[in-house]
């Protein structure tokens, strides 16, 4: 009876949308951050951040060290009080209903913050208790997570004996035990070995495939580019850009690149005239950046003829997310 009542009274996760979009209704965002601000003394760590993340989206928060990523995440996860602004988790205001809002989140902090005096299994079990999971569910999920994350054999060892990578895997398992609709990861693979990184990334991708929304903060651009459907670039406490990695690359189209391999050593100065704005040696190949690709190639061919060098290979490509990131942060 209570179950039936719940089904009929359960709020529908749709709301009216007032923007220019053609559809009248759209799915309620998994996370909405509105005008978030935070200062520490005279330092304004987060100036005015607003963004929203759609359900099942893999969303990246990118930025250099000290950009305000972790402060933003700490406010989003309820660890830190914002000076202004609000955080809405699946329609629940974190400030007004913080317990309900936190029930919907699984948070993985930067460092594997687990209890060293408990075993891996006990750590996971403890977190399961916080979310009110039954004993059988806690045991089943702990077993599955420990197996998936390669910790099955060390499940009953105290985590104080674990390596950093193993501790971070336990931390990931703790955040996933209640199968949260929103998973928030603060630089989860920072400083980890390849094995741990791969296991963690695979597990997070699996959660995302199963329907969890993932919010990842990182300064690993390659990782963000590979995993995220949308990225938000933050610098000096403000949002610099927010879009899909592809679209971000296209918005900075003036940064085209020609990669050339010559038969012998060439001087950078030969090319830094005219259309080429930047030249850098990457392994054995030179990368030339220019606004106009045709003109840049003409210039390279001209230098080749003047200096009597041969071109072994030449390829062109658009800017990488790293290029976009660097450019946007520089401009900002």
């Amino acid at each position: 009876m209570i179950k039936l009542l719940y089904i009929f009274t359960k709020p529908v996760p749709f709301r009216k949308h007032s923007s220019k979009q053609t559809n009248l209704y759209h799915i309620m965002p998994a996370l909405e951050v509105r005008n978030l601000k935070k200062s520490f003394g005279d330092v304004q760590a987060v100036k005015d951040i607003s963004f929203s993340v759609e359900p099942k989206e893999f969303f990246g928060l990118l930025g250099p060290n000290g950009a305000g990523k972790t402060t933003s995440i700490r406010m989003i996860t309820g660890v830190l009080n914002p000076d202004a602004g609000s955080v809405i988790i699946e329609g629940t205001d974190l400030k007004k209903n913080f317990l309900e809002a936190k029930m919907k989140m699984g948070v993985i902090p930067e460092v594997g913050n687990i209890y060293p005096d408990l075993s891996a299994r006990e750590n996971i079990d403890l977190v399961g208790r916080f979310y009110g999971l039954s004993k059988a569910t806690r045991e089943d999920r702990a077993d599955k997570l420990l197996t998936d994350l390669g910790l099955k054999e060390r499940a009953d060892d105290l985590t104080r004996k674990f390596s950093k990578g193993m501790r971070q895997r336990v931390s990931i398992a703790c955040a996933m035990v209640h199968e949260p609709p929103i998973l928030i990861l603060d630089e989860p693979t920072e400083g980890l070995d390849v094995m741990s990184r791969r296991l963690i990334v695979d597990k997070v991708k699996e959660m995302n495939r199963k329907g969890s929304t993932v919010i990842l903060t990182t300064h690993n651009i390659e990782e963000a580019s590979r995993l995220c459907q949308r990225v938000c670039i933050v610098n000096k406490g403000s949002i610099v850009a927010i879009d899909t990695p592809d679209r971000l690359r296209k918005t900075t189209e003036m940064m085209q690149m020609v990669e050339v391999a010559f038969d012998r050593k060439v001087e950078q100065a030969w090319f830094l005239t005219g259309y080429i704005s930047r030249a850098e040696l990457c392994n054995d190949k030179w990368r030339f950046y220019a606004d106009d690709l045709d003109k840049a190639i003409e210039q390279i061919v001209k230098v080749k003829e003047e200096q009597g060098v041969k071109i072994l290979s030449m390829s062109t490509s658009g800017p990488t997310l790293e290029d976009v990131f660097v450019k946007l942060c520089e401009v900002h």
Partner: protein, 248 residues
């Protein structure tokens, strides 16, 4: 407020504390060994009535046990990064503080019962009011566990600093609470100082329950102890909330 989630949080925090922290050395050193030796140093070699001083010893043991780990939990957790993680779970600062208090109180209660039983069986001590002694144990443990958590709340990640602060508060209290010199035998300013110590009211309450000389009515002792408990717990919550949300 979802009360189910809130109460579950308190219970899981308390269980976690008891599982992790109440097997550590400071509990036994500061909770049992230290008060025992302090009392023996005072008692041995003097012709004193053990029945008269046992309530004081029991109160001192309860006081040290219930307030031994409380000051250390938050700094330990801040040091290992688990405190920040706790804040991401469906918990509030108040549920963390209450959980820490309950863990200290339950552990203190256990030790108090052991020490009390030891007194009754071996000395033997006479208990005149069993209900009052149970009330005194429950309230006293909650009160001093709250004091312990309050001592940890001003912030800082170094347990050594908190231990110094805790020693600075706890040691003077045992000398101004009628444990070694009964309040009824004190005169002048010294007597008024004892009124400011919550431990005085616990000693008085135990004196009531063991048929010894007392100063206040039992209900007054209970009332003042309840007041101190509420004060310690609410101030601990307020200070810890302010420090945590500032990121300290």
């Amino acid at each position: 407020m979802n009360w189910n989630v809130y109460l579950r949080g308190i219970s899981v925090v308390a269980r976690k504390d008891m599982r992790i922290y109440y097997r550590k050395a400071p509990v036994f050193i500061f909770g049992l060994i230290l008060p025992t030796f302090l009392f023996l140093a005072f008692f041995v070699g003097r012709e004193l009535d053990i029945n008269k001083y046992f309530p004081g010893f029991l109160a001192m043991s309860l006081f040290f046990t219930s307030s031994s780990v409380g000051p250390l939990i938050v700094p330990w957790e801040k040091q290992q990064g688990t405190f920040e993680r706790l804040l991401t779970y469906p918990l509030s600062i108040s549920s963390i503080v209450l959980g820490d208090c309950i863990a200290g109180a339950v552990f203190g209660l256990l030790i108090s019962v052991i020490v009390g039983t030891f007194g009754i069986l071996l000395i033997p001590i006479t208990v005149t009011d069993i209900a009052l002694i149970i009330l005194a144990f429950a309230l006293g443990n909650l009160c001093f566990s709250g004091l312990g958590v309050l001592l940890s709340s001003p912030g800082g990640k170094a347990p050594a600093n908190i231990m110094m602060l805790a020693a600075l508060v706890r040691f003077p209290l045992i000398f101004v609470s009628g444990i070694f010199i009964p309040v009824s035998e004190m005169t002048g300013a010294a007597r008024y100082i004892t009124y400011g110590s919550p431990l005085t009211y616990l000693v008085d309450l135990l004196n009531h329950s063991m048929g010894q000389d007392y100063v206040f009515d039992w209900w007054a002792d209970l009332l003042v102890l309840t007041g101190f408990t509420v004060l310690f717990v609410t101030v601990a919550m307020s200070v810890l909330r302010r420090m945590s949300l500032k990121g300290l």
